[in-house]
């Protein structure tokens, strides 16, 4: 995957947080992981990708980050339902925004949200994923890109 492709998703996550009330987000250096050991925090929103690129993009974050993020977008109800809704919406927004670079053939699914251990995220074992670390407030999260062309 090219640096240019990764930059599209880095720009997407920065753009998302810059539309909240706490805009100061930092993105770390992306790194590769084996798909038998996927990166995951408490809650994950996964978007399936089809078209010229195939695979998935997911946003994964600890519950406490998502609670603060809800407050930061003006949502005072930090219930579990809204935490799941938000993690899916972040994943959807980052993936959807990528179409400005990849075009309308970059097809995205509706989000699937999961909670719990990393072993619940099933990724193709023959591929590796790029992890983009995200630092917001005192919390860590990640955008993970598993795509093949």
């Amino acid at each position: 995957m090219s640096q240019e492709t990764l930059q599209v998703f880095i720009d997407g996550v920065v753009n998302y947080f810059q539309h909240t009330n706490d805009k100061d987000v930092k993105v770390g250096t992306p790194y590769l992981v084996e798909n038998n050991n996927p990166a995951a925090y408490d809650v994950t929103g996964i978007i399936g990708i089809s078209g010229p690129y195939r695979g998935c993009v997911y946003f994964t974050a600890p519950r406490i980050l998502l609670k603060h993020l809800l407050l930061s977008i003006g949502e005072m109800d930090t219930s579990n339902e809204h935490i799941f809704d938000l993690v899916g919406e972040v994943a959807n927004t980052i993936s959807g925004n990528a179409r400005s670079r990849f075009g309308h053939e970059f097809m995205i699914s509706v989000p699937v949200m999961i909670e719990g251990a990393p072993n619940q995220i099933h990724l193709p074992s023959r591929m590796r994923s790029y992890v983009i670390p995200v630092y917001w407030k005192a919390y860590h999260a990640a955008v993970v890109i598993c795509l093949e062309q």
């Binding site: 809204h82 919406e89 959807g96 179409r99 309308h104």
Partner: protein
Amino acid sequence: MLSLMIVDDSNIIRRKIERCNDSDKFRVVASAANGAEALDLFKQTRPQVVTMDLTMPEMDGIACIQQLMAMDSNLRILVISALSDKATGIEALKKGARGFLCKPFTDDQLLEALTELTDD
């Protein structure tokens, strides 16, 4: 005051749009989580303005716009979507939408887009 229906599969986005419209210009009369639900609620409430997400389960936004416009060609639809490519925006406009706001958006951007939609 204009009646407004919000269509988005995210409850937090629906609630955000509702909060933004806490003014004397729009009155939210319906809120739907997908295109099929939107069609049912449209028949019951006949809103003048609709905000429409595109990526939704059961019936997506483009198909819903087409069916809503067949029922009311004067309907003013603002698409609010993360799909930021030009082709998608053009397709929505061809189906009858009058405006396009890309997610993520601020309260000010939403109010500006709704005002442009209803002032023309």
